[in-house]
Amino acid sequence: MRILVIEDDRETADYLVSGLADEGHSTTSARTGSDGLMLAEKDLFDVLLVDRMLPGMDGLRLVKTLRSSGNTTPVLFITTLGGIDDRVTGLNAGGDDYLVKPFAFAELAARVVALGRRSRAASIQARIRVGDVELDLLAHSLSRGGRQIELQPREVRLLEYLMRHAGQIVTRTMLLENVWNLHFDPHTNVVETQMSRLRCKLKTGADIDLIHTIRGSGYCFRADP
């Protein structure tokens, strides 16, 4: 993916650029808001990483300007501003995701991929199919290889999120945010527990395991082994 990193702190920018390059992305970086805006408008990127506090033009205004000119490139805010309303403000300005420093690099990498893919996939589907698993969101029914599986409402939401991001890594935090609508870290193993429960329901008999645990990162829903 082509990623533009708009970050004024050289150290952080280098950390992001080299990390993303290791993941196989091609990255460009900008030091100031106005440079970033120019690059974002000129070239086509899959994802923009924007620091909220930038010299010249702050991240919030940059994204607002970009959006008002019709640019819909997904934006991930990376920021130290973790205040009560900062996330809401960021998302209202046109950001698609919000990550508060400090964060684990795996978290950032997973979110970048999720954002980049989302721009291509049509998001409104009533029926999602991955491999031999089919989830009907209207009927709340799940079938695997023709066999019906009963799911709790939370399990439906969890599976839906996993299937929409099939083939990508989703982190614990992403799941807490999107499945449980919690934007803080409750010190509990609810994600692990729900995941193993869901895994059990999906895998009966000789079926191959579809939910893969990626050590140190998160989970991945994949039909191929």
Partner: protein, 464 residues
């Protein structure tokens, strides 16, 4: 030039302005009274002249010039006509009769002076006179003394001058007295301010108890000082706490890094050491984030747009996410939550508040304990109760547990940074939720009383 402090006060300026205003109005009154009185007296005098002229003309026309001369001479001798002056003058300006020196003819009113030399028995007098031409060519003059008018004018002038003087004097003295009084109060306030600046934060402005505007001001300022003292004290406390509580993990980290650096190790060992260090740094960063968050919540002055939060859903989610943790300790976690409870505020913060309470309950209760989250409409508003059957909190410690980094002796060994309840308190305060820690015999019961929904007022405002 240095103006004395007293004369520079606003009350003195105000008094001076009032005195000036009063003087102007008194001056207008003076002009009105003076001119009115003068005019009235002049009309009186003119009427006296006119009536004498008519009388003399009458005598002249009916009885002839000789009779008129006799009449004039007779009147000149009468005492009750002492303030009048008469003159009958021939066409050659010779006086035929009367007690006035010869005059130029004039049909209009004129003023003249009869010198003392003219009538030796009387002092000089000012008169107001008029003449009329008789049909035989003689001219008749009738005049009246104006002494009474002048007397009256000077009386009025003196009265006003006197009252002006009194007014200005009173204004000046009153202004000085009021200013002194004001200065005294203000000086007391500013002296207290200077003393506080000098370092005595516990000082307060004296309130005299007379409930005037100075007392109001002093009371408001004292409230402000109290709030500031509390904030400063808590800030001092927090910075002390941070210094103490973060030094320990930072020290530990430093020791580990030093030990790693000192000796040769395998790559695997080093990687493990780095891993542990990152975990420790994360814990420190978590503590910082928690502190920052508490500070942000506490200092947020602008209350964000109140949003309605489905409290039942939030509580269900919290109970759900902690189920695995409770199961791990073989504890039961039950939710008895009334449907469709709506609270006003920030969903994330409310969720975090209840999460912290449930997390505490699980963490501090022994294996097999029972934990319950109940929520229902209470008498004062929605009540959320998180109860556990753990060791509870001794009554004496209940106020202290909301302090940052405060940990009970018994729980020192359990994980946690001592900020969970501080965050709960901050969130509760922001949402005007009352927290009560109660004894559940055994265990702890945390009762959150939400403020009664102020929705009817909002709705009517929207409808308007």
């Amino acid at each position: 030039m240095r103006i004395p402090k007293l004369l520079r006060t606003s009350s003195f300026r105000l008094t001076t302005a009032y005195a000036a205003l009063f003087s102007v109005s008194a001056a207008i009154l003076f002009v009105l009274v003076y001119s009115g009185t003068t005019h009235y007296m002049e009309v009186e005098l003119d009427t006296a002249i006119a009536s004498d002229i008519t009388e003399f003309q009458d005598i002249f026309e009916t009885r002839g010039i000789e009779a008129l001369i006799r009449e004039i001479r007779a009147r000149g001798r009468q005492a009750d006509n002492a303030n009048m002056a008469y003159l009958l003058q021939s066409p050659t300006n010779a006086a035929l009769a009367g007690n006035m020196p010869p005059q130029k003819r004039s049909s209009r009113l004129f003023e003249t002076r009869i010198p003392a030399s003219f009538s030796p028995d009387r002092p000089a007098r000012r008169i107001r006179a008029r003449s009329v031409a008789l049909s035989d060519g003689n001219t008749l003059f009738v005049g009246v003394e104006t002494a009474s008018l002048i007397d009256m004018q000077s009386v009025i002038l003196r009265a006003f001058a006197f009252s002006f003087g009194i007014t200005l004097l009173l204004a000046f003295v009153g202004g000085i007295m009021m200013s002194r009084n004001l200065l005294l109060h203000v000086e007391r306030v500013s002296q207290t301010g200077r003393d506080i600046m000098a370092g005595n934060l516990s000082l307060r402005i004296p309130v005299r108890g007379v409930d005037d505007e100075f007392d109001h001001l002093a009371t408001s300022l004292n409230l402000m000082l109290e709030q500031m003292e509390r904030l400063i004290e808590s800030m001092r406390q927090v910075s002390n706490d941070i210094a103490h509580d973060l030094r320990t993990p930072l020290n530990r980290l430093r020791q580990r890094l030093e030990r790693t650096q000192r000796t040769e190790h395998s790559a695997q060992w080093l990687r493990a050491a780095i891993c542990t260090s990152i975990t420790e740094v994360d814990a420190i960063l978590d503590t910082f984030s928690a502190l920052l968050r508490i500070a942000q919540i506490e200092s947020a002055t602008s209350t964000p747009e109140p949003r309605n939060v489905d409290l039942s859903e939030v509580l269900d989610t919290v109970v759900e996410i902690y189920q695995p943790s409770a199961e791990e300790k073989r504890q039961s976690l039950a939710g008895r939550i009334t449907r469709n409870l709506t609270a006003t505020g920030d969903r994330e913060l409310l969720a975090q508040m209840v999460s912290n309470l449930v997390e505490n309950a699980i963490r501090h209760s022994p294996e097999g304990a029972a934990i319950a989250v109940t929520a229902a409409h209470g008498a004062a508003g929605i009540e959320v109760v998180v109860a556990d059957s753990g060791p509870g909190i001794p009554a004496a410690e209940r106020d202290k547990v909301f302090r940052r980094f405060y940990r009970l002796e018994a729980s020192r060994s359990t994980p946690g940074n001592g900020l969970g309840l501080s965050l709960v308190a901050a969130i509760a305060e922001r949402h005007q939720i009352a927290i009560a820690l109660e004894d559940d015999q055994p265990g702890l019961r945390v009762r959150l009383t939400f403020p009664p929904a102020g929705e009817p007022a909002d709705r009517s405002a929207e409808a308007a």
